[in-house]
Symmetry: C2
Subunit: 832 residues, 2 copies
Amino acid sequence: MAEKKFLTCDGNQAAAHVAYMFSEVAAIYPITPSSPMAEYIDEWAAKGQKNIFGETVKVVEMQSEAGAAGAVHGSLQAGALTTTYTASQGLLLMIPNMYKIAGELLPGVFHVSARALAAQALSIFGDHADVMACRQTGFAMLATSSVQEIMDLAPVAHLAAIEGRVPFVHFFDGFRTSHEIQKVEAADMEKLRKLVNQKALKEYRDRALNPEHPVTRGTAQNPDIYFQTRELQNKYYDALPDIVAKYMKQMSRITGRQYAPFVYYGAKDATDIIIAMGSINDVIKTVIDKENKAGKKLGLITVHLYRPFSVKYLMDVMPKTVKRICVLDRTKEPGANGDPLYLDVVEAFKDAKKQPMIIGGRYGLSSKDTTPAQVLAVYKNLAAEKPMNQFTVGIKDDVTRRSLKVGKEISILPKGTFEAKFYGLGADGTVGANKNSIKIIGDNTNKYSQAYFDYDSKKSGGYTCSHLRFGDQPILAPYLVGTPDFVAVHVPSYLRKYDCLRGLKKNGTFLYNSPWSVAETKKHLPDYVKKYLALNNINMYIIDATKIAAEIGLGNRTNTILQSAFFKISGVIPYDLAVEQMKKFIVKSYGKKGEDVVNMNYAAVDRGGEITKVEIPAEWAKLDCTTDFVFEHNDADPEFINKVMRPMVAQCGNDLPVSAFKDIVDGTFPAGTTAYEKRGVATVVPEWNSKNCIQCNQCSLVCPHAAIRPVVMTDAELKKAPKGMATADMKMPKEMAGMHFRMQVSVMDCTGCGNCADVCPAKEKALVMKPLESQLDEAKNWEYGQKKVTYKDELIDKYANSHSRCSSSRVPAPAAARRLISRPSPNSLVRA
Amino acid sequence: MAEKKFLTCDGNQAAAHVAYMFSEVAAIYPITPSSPMAEYIDEWAAKGQKNIFGETVKVVEMQSEAGAAGAVHGSLQAGALTTTYTASQGLLLMIPNMYKIAGELLPGVFHVSARALAAQALSIFGDHADVMACRQTGFAMLATSSVQEIMDLAPVAHLAAIEGRVPFVHFFDGFRTSHEIQKVEAADMEKLRKLVNQKALKEYRDRALNPEHPVTRGTAQNPDIYFQTRELQNKYYDALPDIVAKYMKQMSRITGRQYAPFVYYGAKDATDIIIAMGSINDVIKTVIDKENKAGKKLGLITVHLYRPFSVKYLMDVMPKTVKRICVLDRTKEPGANGDPLYLDVVEAFKDAKKQPMIIGGRYGLSSKDTTPAQVLAVYKNLAAEKPMNQFTVGIKDDVTRRSLKVGKEISILPKGTFEAKFYGLGADGTVGANKNSIKIIGDNTNKYSQAYFDYDSKKSGGYTCSHLRFGDQPILAPYLVGTPDFVAVHVPSYLRKYDCLRGLKKNGTFLYNSPWSVAETKKHLPDYVKKYLALNNINMYIIDATKIAAEIGLGNRTNTILQSAFFKISGVIPYDLAVEQMKKFIVKSYGKKGEDVVNMNYAAVDRGGEITKVEIPAEWAKLDCTTDFVFEHNDADPEFINKVMRPMVAQCGNDLPVSAFKDIVDGTFPAGTTAYEKRGVATVVPEWNSKNCIQCNQCSLVCPHAAIRPVVMTDAELKKAPKGMATADMKMPKEMAGMHFRMQVSVMDCTGCGNCADVCPAKEKALVMKPLESQLDEAKNWEYGQKKVTYKDELIDKYANSHSRCSSSRVPAPAAARRLISRPSPNSLVRA
């Protein structure tokens, strides 16, 4: 181990690390979650980093993935080893070129962070729908399950493509692997250089298109010869599994980790076997370890080489004792009688002398977290008297009833593995501090580390949860932390918004950023939290990071204080060492900003130790409530809001059964749901000065959240308005003389970006940013605008026919009204 | 039958006929071989034809198939029943939108003339590679096997999409079905209108996006709910097979032809069953009829509903007696352990109590003709002791040895079926005349008729072969005529170029357009033809259509004369009736051109009867040769020319084994093969007048075949040139003073379009079109240009370094030389 070089990085970086070495040209068009691969390659090329051939990679960004694939094709025909990086719809756009690249036996490699496809809805998250849509193109397909496997096996894709003359898709799970940070052993360029088949490489270069010895390619063939020339290529596909196996063996020798086209794990005499691809394999392994210790005979076959699908190599590792096989697919092909990997395995056994029972199941679509409890359910189903075939696992399907029942989540990581969750606010620095923390732990100890970051889609001001693990063994846990040892809640209000303590282990630790004293904190805790703390003997600490940050001049930047508190409480590494390292990172991060900033952050580290333990009264255990998190509910609100939106907003969408969506089967969502999710995340919001306003509406035009909108009222309407609501006389046009103008801010929807104030062209600004607290009355005024809307049909008719005015902020202005009041920014009302 | 309306049309027209009825919007981007569908829809819409709802279809042509698919998606969301028509790469570009259309449960229908995909080479011909690349998108897939089935089942795609809320791909074999002309019973709009589920249609329209009751669609979903909402749609796929089966039953009632998701044909107690999709089904049926009469127990299951794949409906029609199953796929997925339909069928039997043996095979890629002999070979393999799995049929694979051995072609059509082949020249009118002939026969008799036209890719002046069949039964023969009753060779030279008599039945008829007398004709016949005629007791007739055409003022338009000769000899219908009908068509075709033209063609009909019988000397049977066609061969030429190109040019590419291409595995062809295929198809070619020429090179620029190129020579080079070769002094630039300019025509490559003469800007034209015969000396001059080129490297260096001149017509001019002599048309030399 002494010689080994470790790197704390995510899957995208690992893939880029290897891809750079083997690339001469990279044609890119970044798409989530593959973008960082292209970005790393571009960055390293800009720095002049050298590849395995001593050259700098030439990077070209095209106009779309279709263009990138075309550039790859052309570049490969010119004799340059060429790569690209993509996912999802991006990969779909490459399909036509993939047939050409494979048909012309070119050694291209596509690294794909496999992602779901847009169907009933778009999803940026991970599953295998995109790569499975390419399985017929003639590309070889290599699957890896973890950041380490990317490092170890990505070279095989490049090496085998060169020797085998078949292009490769190398794929791994989008987000789960592409964005999971792990401490891994880095691939070493010197060792890899020796593996390149130089003869095959020279032959490839000699075949390149060259005006000095021209040939004709890209021909059209007719019925007379196309079939023959298509079959001519069989031999390359027949040979490829052996070539891949050879390079995998060489990588096994270099890394000490055993690889083959199919890898077996589990009992030698296993009866019940799962076959799977991607990150789920690590979950299955830990479940097998636990269950086999208890006497079970479970096994796993990890698929690394999916195309060409080699029945020979599959059977090589298949235990003779197998009785039952469950094939897991991470994709859904509606209308098929089974998903792709399942169909392949069924065929593989067609002529076997002993026929095991084979079933198939589907899991993890769109990064649905796949946990040990789910894997247990899969094995349980497999061993059942009448196992369900074509099941799903990870959801509750109470409509077509194909889902397996999953037991309570279990913790099965090796002893000494520390699991932590940190709840933060988008852009509050929590995620950044946690990225530092795992580097500190990874670089300063022999511990393995893992980090994964879970967000909602609201970006700045949204929800973040950092999932960190540390341990003495490589961490095989590609799923969210479900049973944390440690939970930190960095945002005081979160205890009422999210189920933060869910799964916190007995005797675990809870750090709460509380603006209150111990006594007041106790008062503010919701009952279900109290009961949980008492029943599970939780060690609770509080710190008022917000107050400390203000005191030392950091404003609302609480992240370093809370990071320090974490190290203080958790004891993952000695606190002194942690302090020293945190300070090192501070110099790195803030050194350029001057001594003052550095010193303030030093102070933050030092004062992070100011934690207070909260004793948990035993009687909390007897509180008359459950420990379940209770959603907001309002009988007056639509069913969709109570039953679907509020659980989703509370990060409990995973618990929603299929039936919850029964009225929106085609991806249709009701409009206007923001009315029920007032976030109030802005610290400052615009205040409108009616006297200064020139009624140009430009502020409304630039607001990215449509949280500031022009309104016109009649006398009668103004009378009904909340008291003290400011208005101005309409300045123009004539037809609206005598009416009342108002620029209405929805302070609870505003995110405080200040665009509106910036753009205001009035001599004296009509909009000034003020603290949210000072503007809360505005919420009532907004509410008035909402309630006035009986429903839009009526109003639209009224205004469209009368050519009068648009008096409601929620009503799309009909053409006439728009013409009257929206000049010069018609969009400001169209968006409503 | 009395009520039935018949239509003589091809598959594209049949699909368009139905699609128009059910479309409100058609978003198109035509691609071979689907283009006629879009063109018909466009034409009918322009004429104001009404659909089933009494509306004219709104047609929109987009910028690509990706755009067409996007327009379909948007139009469907707006509540308009929308269709598109595509194939091959066009369909691939639609894939991203297909996931969306299916995911949003929209009733779109894509009619696809299934076509091969560009891999080692592009192919415009038919197989299922394109549709199979879409089987995972969530579209339902409906396969039809013939023009009649398109008429009968295309409505099911539309009707089931409306009721089932799942979009459909309806596909049929590109070219073989899309371009095969058959006399079929036409779908009747009044009957179909009654089948529309009006309630489902209203619900669909009510769901349309509408500003009056807005909803949110096209959302992004996160891991919390995507999986659930994806599974929510299972019920639509579960329900679809029953919906499709219901509409198929209704169509069966209307048409009298029996349809279901899977249809069985053959012995009730069959042991050996083929499962297949597309046009091959008709071939299999005729083979079954023949073999079962001889005591075999063969069967066929035709797949109509491929997605959702319903194991239930498959098993419904599966004979209990089945022992062996062969699944035929018309696509190749390199690296898979089986092609798609095969994998599905294997899975279908996974839990069956009785396991038949199941094998899979591949056939017909890129419209490779699939014949009764091939189907026989498939059944033979199936019954073998050790049947080959994953075989190919239709080619000789002597490299990876997966092909079945196919016996001699057999004729198995019902008695009285008349089969004919007509060899013509592209644009000589043969194909058009044959299209008239089948309409004449179809419209004036109770006979069924079929026509299919086989071309090379050379268009005007290229090879054409018309394959016609007539009979009292519907013609189930979706393959080229292999054993004709009648062969007409309209081009005298073809007997030495192509194997025209191949397969001509014993006692069959041979019509030869001969410029010679009977005695001279006998002298001109190649020996292998003579022997074939004698051995097979062929009735041979000659007519000098070329001379007759000249005499009656038709120039070289021999088609009507030869059509008349065909009717005279064949007796398919009474000759008097044929003459009357041919004259009717003449009025239709030429009426607008005036009485003279009509009368000339009348005369052509009348004189078509001037045929002469040629008695075949019995001793020809004893000639010392085989009856095999012998290719041109020249030991001095490259192996590729002799072994690959010449058989391809002679329309014998089908016979080339896989090994013939062993040196060009990646689709690479040698350049410059036109040097070995001098076609001489032009009747007139340009003659260059050196005195008139202003040396502008524009003629060279506009020549689409690069058959006219500027050449510059030194004194020394001119001396070596063939005698009498005209040159002019170089007019410019100064540096080339004293050198000799020549505009060189390759008269044997020229197609006689006259562009060069048209474009010549000289005061007195420097190019005048003259008969080819008068210009044959030019071929020698061209030859001189070719031979002078030792090889280009040397010359390029020489000219690039010396900035002197480009003296060879085959050498791409280096920058300097190009600058000097190519102004103002630089392209004229770049192309060389």
